[in-house]
Subunit: 190 residues, 2 copies
């Protein structure tokens, strides 16, 4: 069985995005050690990426651009070429631009279908709070990799809204010079 990992930036008060989806509070945290770590992780992962509609739209508007290719070449390559699963009731086919390929659009979460994916491929969920919430409540998340950003944002979208009580096992806590702490947890609901 492969696994599903949540990878998200979070504030100390538990938000993964500002009230309107803002992510500017973590985009400025560049620092050699951290950038090297994220590039290396992106290169070796080979994971399928999973999104909700909102995060998908945001990612698609950025990663295929020349700006992204210039600022984060390795990450842009990975984001553009990785297989993707998107949950959306309104997206149709034909979403694959020349730089944004290999996309499966699913109109809803069907647990048996997710389990079939987990037979074959490792999956990383980026952003996508509503997907994280639903899959957590279905006991389908194996690992939470949280990038704790040194900020109290005060308002925003909580990553764990309406999620059931979940015990976790700490796998790793690693701090970086830019003040980020990577916290990796295994879900004990598996």
């Amino acid at each position: 069985m492969k696994k599903i990992t949540v990878f998200n930036h979070v504030t100390l008060d538990g938000f993964f995005a500002g009230p309107n989806g803002e992510i500017d509070w973590f985009q400025t945290l560049h620092e050699d050690e951290w950038d090297r770590y994220t590039s290396e992780q992106a290169k070796i992962s080979g994971n399928t990426l999973m999104f909700g509609h909102t995060t998908y739209t945001m990612m698609k508007s950025y990663w295929p651009t020349p700006e992204a290719a210039k600022a984060y070449p390795e990450m842009a390559y990975v984001m553009n070429t990785s297989p993707k699963i998107v949950f959306s009731k309104t997206l149709k086919g034909g979403e694959e631009g020349p730089h944004w390929k290999n996309i499966r659009v699913l109109d809803e979460i069907r647990p048996e279908e997710i389990l079939e994916f987990k037979e074959k491929e490792d999956i990383t969920i980026l952003g996508s709070g509503t997907i994280v919430q639903q899959l957590t409540n279905l006991n389908l998340i194996d690992e939470y990799d949280l990038v704790m950003v040194p900020i109290i944002l005060s308002v925003g979208k909580p990553l764990f809204k309406d999620v059931k009580k979940t015990d976790l096992k700490l796998l790793e806590a690693r701090s970086f010079k830019n003040g980020i702490v990577l916290l990796r947890y295994l879900s004990m609901s598996q």
Copy 2:
């Protein structure tokens, strides 16, 4: 100038207590390394403790008891003998029992009074979400020491409710065998 430090257990979703003030989700996390660390910290601190009325009442009902003295002898000694400041509009004098001494009751937060305290004594705030919130918004907190407990609680009292946006500087991230990660941050609003 001395400093004011917040010391609190928090869940991964940002709560410092359950919806009715429950703290059972972190009371069972004993482990030698962690217990040694907290005992040592308690012994060397010499800090004044600061509380809101709710946390004060809860602490006073536990720490002077024989059970507390047996379970956590060093911590009980520190809790019972440290100078204390309590914010409450209804507590009167005469609150000092034989095992719970040296208490100043203040009916509201006056910033100039807090600054006077900071001239003379290091202060640690335990629990007391409403006090943390008000003092954060007055730029009076110097340091946040958060004990990140490996759990998503789902419902509870958010530590940073109605707190303004605050940039932090990571001082230390230290993990323990029981899955706790101690995250120490300096406030950048000072």
